[in-house]
Amino acid sequence: MADGSATRVQDFIGDPVSDKPAVPRAKLEQIFRDIQEDMRYDHELNGCLNCGICTATCPAAHYYDFSPREIVQLLWTENLEGIYDAMQEKIWSCAQCYTCAARCPFKNSPGGLVMLMREVAIKHQMQSAKDVLRPFSRVMLKLVSTGNQLAPDMINPSHFADWGPNISKVEAPLKVLRKAIPMATLNTTETAWEVNLKTSVELYTIWEMTGVLDQLEGIDENLFDVITDIMDEKRADWKDFLEEQEDNDD
């Protein structure tokens, strides 16, 4: 990797007149090893004849400089520089539809391989991953703190101007419209459904024990701070509830 004095372009492509590699070989090898060591790797990659069925049917290939065939080839041929390069931008084009996987005669899953590469991009705290994911932080905040990924209060005209004026065709405050849904769990605005306090607390344990919070901290420290505050608060509420129960039992 270029040192701190390098420009952003040099960070990506290195110095064209220097023999020094843009990214040290050891780092490229580590990144590839991390991808390859995932238990899913051998399931998702079985060989490739370059037939291109995956790319022919890929929605992202219609609109981006992205080809699932290329991703498979880079991994299959262990092209470490190419893999690193694809992880800067291309892997984020994939729409994760798995059409490629359904169609590949070799039973490869280019979409699945892209996920492994995305995870490793996050593990290595690549700046490109941070940039790409910044607009997605609302979803991550909602998910990690509540277990819901989308909530009614996220759908409003200011966030989705291109959806037009018909976000709701009946005029009333959101809270009232949600009350008019005849499922009691859905009478909420900040979460898609009412989430049991115990559920959230259990989910936090999963995040901690599986390293998800570490991923989040590496990619967006501010978001991590906000989320851990929410977690602390809910855990305190749960503790209070349990103590209250014990007092009642006594």
Binding site: Y63, A95, T99, A192
Partner: protein, 463 residues
């Protein structure tokens, strides 16, 4: 060599090359050749023409036999119906005593989707539980961002399905009474994929056993794996004839296009339902089956196989892709080629994407705008069974012109909307809201929970 493109030289440009000559096959040989082509191309060979396909349930039963896992079984009391999947394997779909595993996108954005499902279940006296103790599958975020990993996805899957297994105890009923019914297509695909990895990897089982143990969510010290992962559209599919028996509105004048969801049938494709009586078994049967059973005309279109453009991350931060794909590859084709009156789907992200991304097509200039009502199969089914288009089907959350479909079905939506607006006004002034079930049942533990016997089932609100 002659130029095949030059007129007057006796050759036509066939694309086969100038050396091409007719085979002049006998009729029987031609039939053999045609059969080969049909088998390879017309049928679902793009999905089935592979080696190394295994039925992961064989692994599951073996692990249970060895005492390594516990299987949440579909029992007779769940009234299962058998269907055939891609390779002709049998899958059992439970139809009663169901635990609703909700979808965050449906509940947050298109609430008429789950409400229609519960409304139909009430009409059929299906016992179910809709409770607060569940997380989403977390897979939308995972596929969008890469935050998460196989362990976190597996732990979330096992936690939620364990809760489905024990939830009935809060009502004085035995464990395993309810069987989980997954609403979201992404959850359905993700859970099946994760189940496969769990069954194959002792290492993964070992690591998540520690997590589930800490949460107190093991059964006899073992991981609980569901016999089947079941999507709501599969329930709708096997119940389609019973739904048809409740139909009050004729749908024969409706031309419907189907958008099959990628994570429902392309992810773990061997588990998707195919039925020879539905488009000759060439397409995934869910949605098409019920729409045909209800008498509507299912119209094929050339981009049926394409995704919707949701893209997980794209619908939030690459919207140019999402809306371009939704408009040009799906909606425009359905409108201009299939002359469709409605596009029917069976997944959260697809319905959202296809429904919300039409208005922006006006930006294309005069004559470029396209509009098409978009809804889920179960919403359409509820509508033709007489469900209120606002109170139950909650069509006001849809951005697409649902009203044109309602008119086609002969539903006076303007009158219904006036009624609903009065109902909403009443709620604003403090009137009690109608509910599909006793709201107290939603709590099975934690703050506010009080045990309630399950026998208390209020009648559904009038349509």
């Amino acid at each position: 060599m002659t130029d095949p493109k030059t007129p007057g030289n006796g050759e036509r440009f066939t694309g086969h090359g100038s050396e091409w000559t007719p085979a002049n096959l006998s009729a029987s040989d031609a039939q053999v050749a045609t059969q080969w082509v049909e088998q390879r191309i017309d049928k679902r060979s793009m999905l089935t023409n592979k080696d190394r396909v295994e039925d992961v349930r064989d692994v599951m039963w073996q692990l249970e036999k060895e005492g390594q896992i516990k299987v949440h079984r579909i029992r007779d009391e769940h009234e299962p119906v058998e269907v055939k999947t891609l390779y002709g394997w049998t899958k059992r779909i439970p139809t009663n005593q169901l635990w609703h595993h909700k979808s965050c996108g449906q509940c947050g954005n298109i609430p008429g989707y789950p409400v229609s499902l519960l409304w139909l279940m009430n009409k059929m006296d299906i016992r179910y539980l809709d409770e607060t103790d569940q997380t989403s599958c977390t897979a939308w975020n995972y596929h969008g961002s890469g935050i998460g990993n196989i362990e976190s996805l597996a732990a979330v899957f096992l936690r939620n399905f364990h809760q489905a297994y024990v939830a009935a105890k809060a009502q004085g009923l035995p464990e395993g009474y309810y069987y989980p019914l997954v609403h979201c297509g992404t959850s359905f695909g993700n859970y099946k994929e994760v189940r496969g990895y769990l069954l194959h990897s002792a290492k993964l089982r070992e690591s998540v056993t520690k997590i589930l143990g800490k949460l107190g969510r093991l059964v006899d010290g073992k991981l609980l794996i569901p016999e089947e992962v079941v999507h709501y559209s599969e329930w709708v599919h096997v119940m389609r004839h019973r739904i048809r028996n409740m139909q009050t509105i004729d749908a024969s004048g409706v031309r419907a296009t189907i958008h099959p969801a990628c994570h429902v049938y392309k992810m773990v494709p061997e588990d998707a339902i195919y039925d020879d009586s539905v488009l000759e078994g060439n397409r995934v049967a869910v949605s098409t089956g019920v729409i045909q059973a209800l008498g509507a005309n299912v119209i094929d279109y050339k981009t049926w196989y394409d995704c919707c453009g949701f893209g997980f991350r794209h619908i939030i931060s690459e919207r140019e892709f999402t809306r371009s794909f939704a408009i040009d590859r799906k909606i425009r084709v359905a409108v201009e080629e299939a002359k469709s009156d409605v596009m029917i789907g069976h997944d959260t992200g697809c319905i959202t994407t296809l429904d919300k991304n039409q208005w922006i097509s006006k930006a294309g200039g005069e004559g470029k705008a396209v509009e098409l009502p978009v809804m889920a199969d179960v919403q359409f089914a509820a509508l033709v069974c007489g469900a209120d288009p606002y109170k139950i089907v909650q069509t006001h959350w849809h951005a697409s012109p649902i009203e044109t479909l309602l008119e086609k079905l002969g539903i006076d939506w303007q009158a219904k909307k006036v009624e609903f607006e009065a109902y909403v006004k009443g709620l604003q002034s403090g009137s009690a809201a109608e509910q599909l079930y006793d709201p107290r049942l939603r709590l099975t533990s934690g703050p506010g929970f009080k045990p309630i016997k399950r026998e208390v089932i209020p009648p559904p609100p009038s349509a």
